[in-house]
Symmetry: C2
Subunit: 244 residues, 2 copies
Amino acid sequence: MIANFVGLDTQIPWCIINTNMTTPHPSTQNIKVAVDAAIFTIKNGDLCLLLIQMKKSPFEGMWAIPGGLIEDHETSLQSASRILKTQTGLHDVFLEQLKTFDDPGRDPAGRVVSVACWALVPDHQIPLKTTDKYLDVRWWRVGKLPELAYDHQGIAKEAVERLKSKIQYTNIVWSLLPEEFTLTQLQSVYEIIVGSSLDKRNFRKRIRDLKLIRPVGKKLAGAAHRPAELYRFRQRKLEYVEIV
Amino acid sequence: MIANFVGLDTQIPWCIINTNMTTPHPSTQNIKVAVDAAIFTIKNGDLCLLLIQMKKSPFEGMWAIPGGLIEDHETSLQSASRILKTQTGLHDVFLEQLKTFDDPGRDPAGRVVSVACWALVPDHQIPLKTTDKYLDVRWWRVGKLPELAYDHQGIAKEAVERLKSKIQYTNIVWSLLPEEFTLTQLQSVYEIIVGSSLDKRNFRKRIRDLKLIRPVGKKLAGAAHRPAELYRFRQRKLEYVEIV
DNA sequence: TCAAAAGTGTTCCTGTTACACCCATGA
DNA sequence: TCATGGGTGTAACAGGAACACTTTTGA
């Protein structure tokens, strides 16, 4: 099959990265491990990211993605879950690892490797909790983020990309919606995230075929028009869309 | 648009994860940061993973994905690149972050968070380098891996999944092939990774449309049949397939 | 002249896109 | 009765899948 491959070029190897060939097992390693949690929601028709305003120098007054050092006994996801609960009071939402940010210069205070996680929470009325560690906590429209501390601009960018991509082949939007919702609400969430409008009939056909949601049997009355059927996700946990 | 969302259910929150609400900023954190590098190649028609045989207790004699603590001044990718060069002598290949493995119990010797990376290298004749740190180094067929140390079975599994998925929408196979290759070799690599055979005419049509490769203008003679045209990738770096 | 792999187009089918009208309700 | 958003089907199109024979070489 793959038998007659041409041999590898005999070019002289050169090194892209200025590697230091000392032993990779220093007895004392001076690196801290943190978590940053990019928490998204949809508010008033916009995708929003939760940011905290920093109290401590050198980023005093600047906005940042909430985070902190992980504890010796917890995983990064548990740590992110803790941050999520502290800031929003929410739990049991979509939350996963994004990427680890480990540029040696990313934190001016010292070497900190950060495992970035991201989460999706439904729009909710519970007020955000300002702790004494921060000056303020707020939802910011993803399209109009302020300048961010550390390398958090990069984290935000990658998280948004992941969201846009993952919404296409999974059921993660369950975590942005209330338990019961209408098809119009569902479509609206997709439109906000992908950033363009979708055809109503095609959208409904596709959603029906995916079998991720089921009708509840109730209608949402109270508006001056035909009441909408309510739906629920079959699973409120990550499912991949079946590619038949 | 998204204005008339139903309010969030008033169910009583319960906690999935047994979070410990002590301060997330312990002054002394006792966690080490490592890198593990899952290095793949294709040998004799099989997808293979590079494993080292461990010297140290408690995994003495067991096979593992090569890795080590990262140094204070380097990123995880630089660290992985160093490992890659040490083991294979290669450089300038596809290498990216996979996921961070951080279960507190994953290393019996203490808390080690590992940033797993993965790489693809072309089949090459350069012998693998056994250092005095390991008993042995070998390529193992991915379908027949031995029992692995730590949580390396999980790393291997996720890396293979990522490879199978990423081959579909990027040009990463450039890193598994010599600089010049035939369309049959290219198809063979795809077949080995996806695990099923592909139609020759459809494959060539698709590859032609993707415009990732270009003919070199040479033919590979020497076999008792019509000589095959040689091709090169336009870019020997990550490109995403254009979805027209 | 034979064996072996290289190379090349067309038809069919399936899934995606485009598109317009009636329905149920509250005011 | 009117304004508002909810709800529904079909026809055209495009991209993917199935499929077989001729070419070029070395032995």
